[in-house]
Symmetry: C2
Subunit: 381 residues, 2 copies
């Protein structure tokens, strides 16, 4: 049984949520305000098959959640005064917004497919899509590339992707570290982490606090699985008996292989989202990473509000249909593991919804996918 | 033969050097200004024993340098317009200064000694000591901790060190990522990277451009090997036949083991350096990492200037004497591999030198270790 978890610790002030962070499917643990602010914690647990005949699930194995929770409890204890401004750092009339992330086990698929020139886009995407949820404009990015023995051709491909990602998000690749660490990584393998810093004017921070019942949820399309859910996706692939070079089943576009479909780079929403924000009406943003709609959308809401999602309002891409069918994964499990075709959700005022959707025609067309309701959590109708 | 290299790519404007970066022993490649600025490149190569009877060297194996150079050449080609402000990002009347680094193969020694509660100090030190060389005050830090299976006790120790390092440098631990990556790391092992961002007023940037002949070099003591040269240090240890729990030879303090001496956390110079800077007279700063004085000091000088170092002006710590003796390493090799007891060098005006040195008495006492001369490079007298 493979176990994969990502634990993220970010601390946010009570009034300004930290940028959405990125995990596998997770359990949210919310602590009450203490000291300077609130600490938001997400613990992600991995896929585990429960038996031959049963459907696959991304279930939170107790031990994993306990370990993550325990680590964060200890961090809080030793650093009660540190990090009162999770992700947001006050700087004159601006906040600096910082995020760090890796691309998780999607890297294993890069090693297996040999597709290395887009994993850098994923790396940049995970951090910049996070910080743009606060309304922040990315300024610069730094990368850390670690491997046991530097392979120039390989590294060039990876860094090419990072450069592409920076271009797509209009930010500067300000520096980086390429570290050769003998005996740390298997031959041909590497790890990546990235770090993005953006800025947003104090009075322009988007934090969800003005969201009210009746506001509209707008979804921006994803390119596929993006950079989350790969523990489960790789397990499904194994069960399918297909190779990465086989054609993706349930796909009209017969030129796409399974490997290509899974490795499709994460969409960088920065330019589109900043343009939409600049025209007004946006109250909250959720980067749909691990945890899917189910975990990511509610985190931007004030307490007492939830979401109704119209499940037929957009087309679920073939890769998710294939994963669900082969893995015999139920709907709820799919929705809290994968983005299902929507990588960024905007919560906007009812008045601005039509205009915003119309404006996206011709670029990355947005869908009206739901609305804000009284209650808690996400309801799929 | 173990080979370890670190390649760093930073781009700096012609007038403002990027903060000193951290490598093993390295070869400098300076490109002429192109596009927005200059790209500074450092390629570090690792230790290799050349035979039983010969002294150990950290020699730049041709292949390694070629690989690093080649990678940077390709990066330049694909991103000519990206990263014109190496490490320094203009922001109103300030520059934001960012640095990223890991701790290299010192991690292997942490695994072997079981000393995990100070490696986080090393991690923070490597980045904040870099950015303070521009005169920047660190604001916040983020960490990335990657392991195959989360061990809460171990992670707690590592993060405790990161918290300590942030306290020592008066910066906020703004966020972090703890990533579980199954099948990436050996049992009990992990990798670390860190990111620090600081600020400095435009007119307060320290860039060495006012350095003149006759200026004084002041050295601040290190705690030992810090976080560079571990490929060579581990090789010497192997040759010595000592275990990590044996007493360090050539040491008056008989309670120090070899493991403790090598694992001594990197000194964080932030507070001391910022205080010295605030009182005036500081023209340039060099964080003595891999490459030692030989490579790190000249990089802060305007062209046509070099350094004369008075080798007897400070006490070389026992750990270096032991490394040199056991490894049969010649002086030049030692000086371009290790910090030899001085972790930060300040270039100050002749008028301010005595005052600066006097002010440090009672804290981390500074030494007058040399002076700026006409010429190139570092001359040891």
């Amino acid at each position: 049984m493979t176990t994969s978890r990502v634990l993220h610790f970010l601390r946010g002030p009570a009034t300004s949520p930290a940028p959405a962070d990125h995990q596998g499917p997770r359990q949210h643990l919310r602590f009450p305000p203490a000291g300077e602010g609130m600490r938001r914690v997400s613990v992600a647990c991995s896929s585990s098959t429960t038996g031959e005949g049963e459907g696959m699930t991304y279930k939170g194995a107790g031990v994993d959640i306990d370990a993550g929770t325990e680590l964060v409890r200890r961090i809080r204890k030793m650093a009660p005064g540190i990090g009162g401004f999770g992700g947001l750092y006050p700087f004159g009339d601006h906040f600096l917004v910082a995020g760090t992330d890796g691309v998780g086990t999607k890297l294993k698929l890069a090693f297996e497919t040999g597709i290395h020139d887009t994993i850098g886009i994923d790396l940049v995407a995970m951090s910049v899509n996070d910080i743009v949820t606060s309304g922040a404009e990315p300024m610069f990015f730094l990368d850390y590339y670690s491997t046991s023995k530097l392979d120039v051709d390989l590294a060039e491909k990876v860094i090419k992707g990072i450069v592409d990602g920076c271009k797509q998000s209009d930010c500067v690749l300000l520096g980086g570290e390429t570290a050769e660490m003998p005996d740390f990584y298997a031959e041909g393998e590497y790890d990546l982490s990235g770090f993005a810093v953006g800025k947003v004017k104090n009075d322009k921070v988007i934090d969800g606090k003005n969201i009210v019942k009746g506001d509209v949820l707008i979804g921006l399309p994803s390119s596929g699985v993006h950079s989350n859910g790969f523990s489960l996706a790789r397990r499904v692939l194994e069960k399918s008996g297909l190779s990465l070079s086989d054609q993706l089943p349930r796909n009209d576009d017969i030129t796409t292989t399974v490997g290509e479909a899974l490795m499709a780079p994460t969409v960088i929403y920065v330019k589109q989202v900043l343009e939409i924000i600049s025209k007004g009406g946006v109250k909250g943003l959720a980067h749909i990473t691990g945890g899917g709609f189910t975990d990511n959308i509610p985190r931007v809401f004030p307490s007492g509000l939830g979401a109704k999602i119209f499940t037929g309002s957009w087309e679920v891409p073939p890769v998710f249909k294939w994963l669900q069918q082969v893995g015999n994964i139920d709907d709820a499990e799919m929705r809290r593991t994968f983005n299902m075709g929507i990588g960024m959700v905007l919560v906007v005022s009812r008045e601005s919804a039509d205009r915003i959707i119309e404006d996206t025609h011709g670029s990355n067309p947005a869908y009206r996918i739901g609305e804000v309701i009284e209650g808690e959590g996400v309801h799929y109708v």
